[in-house]
């Protein structure tokens, strides 16, 4: 299996604070990797570096085998940001329009939306189970439904890698499990490589293939099965103190400190 992302000796600091300290991480093709860690552990910074939204300070990031500074094919990567569900809910756009906006780059400047693009939007909506909401305004949906729409927006341009930053913030507790199941299906059935930043370790560990524990350092990086066997130990190291793990659905995610 070739790697979709390869990170070597990555460091990053905001002024004096080191947020990423010698990170080495690979994401193989077809993997579903969950990055877990406490607030301020550098998870979002790592994602921003992978997405090219922050400039590399020290270290190397390869995307699809290519150095990030030379990487141009951003359509291969779909991104659902943490802020996706804090958008202006009064925005007058239908679900269809929002998902179609994910095709903007692919269609290209000065070119128009065509019938074939409409089919793509419908397929992406079906993949996240939202095809019946196509004509509804996005603000009228629940948090979980909105998040599915944002995933459809990322899926519509057929990415090989989908990056999600804490996607269950704002999703009702009872829907969190179904939400992760949908992601797991996308990974298993459509072969999309997934990179997920989350707090829901308890809920997620049986759905993902790989886990990475990050708190400035990388405390663990390996297969989910290995993580299962030693997770209490690894999680305690990552979070710096003992935590109680809740494997059932929990309103604020799966970890209670």
């Amino acid at each position: 299996m070739s790697s979709i992302i390869e990170i070597n000796h990555l460091f990053y600091r905001y002024e004096k604070d080191v947020v990423l300290d010698d990170i080495n991480l690979t994401v193989p093709e077809g993997a579903f990797l969950a990055i877990v860690g406490p607030n301020g552990s550098g998870k979002s910074t790592l994602l921003k570096l992978i997405l090219g939204l922050l400039k590399l300070q020290k270290g190397k990031i390869l995307l699809f085998g290519q150095e990030i500074s030379k990487f141009k094919d951003w359509q291969q990567i779909g991104y659902v940001s943490q802020k996706a569900n804090s958008f202006n809910t009064g925005f007058p756009a239908t679900v269809f329009e929002v998902v179609a906006s994910g095709l903007t780059k692919r269609i290209g400047m000065f070119k128009f939306f065509k019938k074939e693009h409409e089919v793509k939007v419908k397929t992406a909506l079906a993949a996240v189970g939202m095809e019946l909401f196509s004509n509804q305004n996005i603000g009228e949906l629940s948090g979980g439904q909105q998040q599915r729409v944002f995933i459809a927006r990322a899926l519509v341009s057929d990415p090989k890698l989908l990056i999600l930053d804490e996607p269950t913030v704002g999703v009702d507790a009872e829907n969190v499990n179904a939400f992760y199941q949908m992601l797991s299906d996308l990974n298993a059935k459509q072969g999309i490589t997934l990179l997920l930043v989350t707090h829901d370790i308890g809920t997620i560990s049986d759905k993902v293939t790989h886990v990475a524990c990050l708190n400035k350092h990388l405390y663990f990086h390996g297969k989910a099965k290995e993580f299962e066997q030693m997770r209490m130990e690894e999680i305690s190291k990552t979070y710096g103190h003992d935590i109680q793990l809740i494997t059932h659905h929990h309103e604020h995610g799966g970890v209670r400190k």
Partner: protein
């Protein structure tokens, strides 16, 4: 009045300009409102005032330039102001709305200085402030027509990009949309339409034509395209209704246009409330069954 339109050139000019402005201002207004930049139009209109005052001053000082159309310098100031706003928004990244009062007060300040330097103007400044049915010339009409073609073409060509930038700027940037260039084109269009609208609506009221029809439309529209469509419809009703009533009642059209737009807004707010009430009643009835 329909007959009068065929008779009098000034009325033809006013109505044709009105139809174009009623279309252009709400079209751009939709993007402005959803990006929460409603006050940008106010800032730019005040900068336009400075441009017009400067032009009138030049006319007074140099009689050789007496034929200079104040619209041109108004546009130059407006576009210049829009670029300054962009610059300031980058300087004050965490206080982006600060750019608006800075530009607004600079515009007024500069305008007042020009007006004082000229010791008042012979030209009726009142018509620039509140609009006039008689002020639109054939040249104005031609200039506004060209601006209109430019704006419609640009919006059609970069509609997708403008939509994604308005909805989710971070996502747009992450997917490689040239956010800066598109924003630049957009703000220049706004500046031009504001300068073009002032003859009819007046400087002090031009922003309302960009925001009120949109505010009404957002209450009832499904989706973005429908929001644009309703905004333009409300914009046209306001401008044409306003011009008719201004002509008959001998009032400044800026006032009548804005009041009709406010009336539409109130109607839409009540309409929406009624719809929600009906919807709730239906649901209760369904549950009872």
């Amino acid at each position: 009045m329909i007959q009068a339109i065929f008779h009098y050139e000034f009325l033809q000019n006013a109505f044709l300009t009105g139809i174009m402005i009623g279309f252009l201002a709400p079209l751009l207004g939709v993007f402005i409102v959803v990006r929460r930049l409603s006050l940008i139009a106010d800032a730019l209109s005040h900068v336009t005032l400075a441009g017009i005052a400067a032009s009138l001053l030049i006319e007074k000082q140099f009689t050789a330039l007496a034929g200079l159309n104040p619209l041109y310098l108004g546009m130059v100031f407006s576009v210049g102001g829009s670029l300054f706003i962009e610059k300031l928004r980058n300087v004050y990244k965490h206080y982006q709305e600060l750019a608006i009062p800075i530009i607004l007060s600079s515009g007024i300040g500069l305008g007042v200085i020009f007006i004082s330097l000229a010791n008042g103007f012979n030209t009726d400044l009142f018509s620039y402030l509140f609009g006039s049915v008689t002020a639109v010339s054939r040249t104005d009409l031609a200039v506004i027509f060209i601006i209109g073609i430019f704006v419609v073409a640009a919006i059609t060509l970069v509609y997708k990009e403008l939509f994604i930038l308005s909805f989710d700027e971070e996502h747009a940037k992450a997917s490689g949309i040239p956010a800066k260039s598109i924003h630049f084109i957009f703000i220049v269009m706004v500046a031009l339409v504001i300068a073009a609208s002032m003859r009819i609506v007046g400087i002090l009221l031009v922003s309302s034509l960009m925001t009120l029809p949109v505010a009404a439309s957002i209450r009832i529209a499904k989706g973005f395209k429908q929001t644009i469509l309703f905004s333009i419809l409300f914009g046209e009703i306001s401008v044409l209704g306003g011009l008719f009533s201004a002509y008959y009642l001998d009032l400044a059209p800026g006032g009548t246009i804005v009041m009709i737009a406010v009336l539409i807004l109130i109607l839409m707010i009540f309409y929406k409330k009624l719809m929600i009430k009906r919807h709730v009643q239906k649901e209760i009835q369904c549950n009872e069954r």
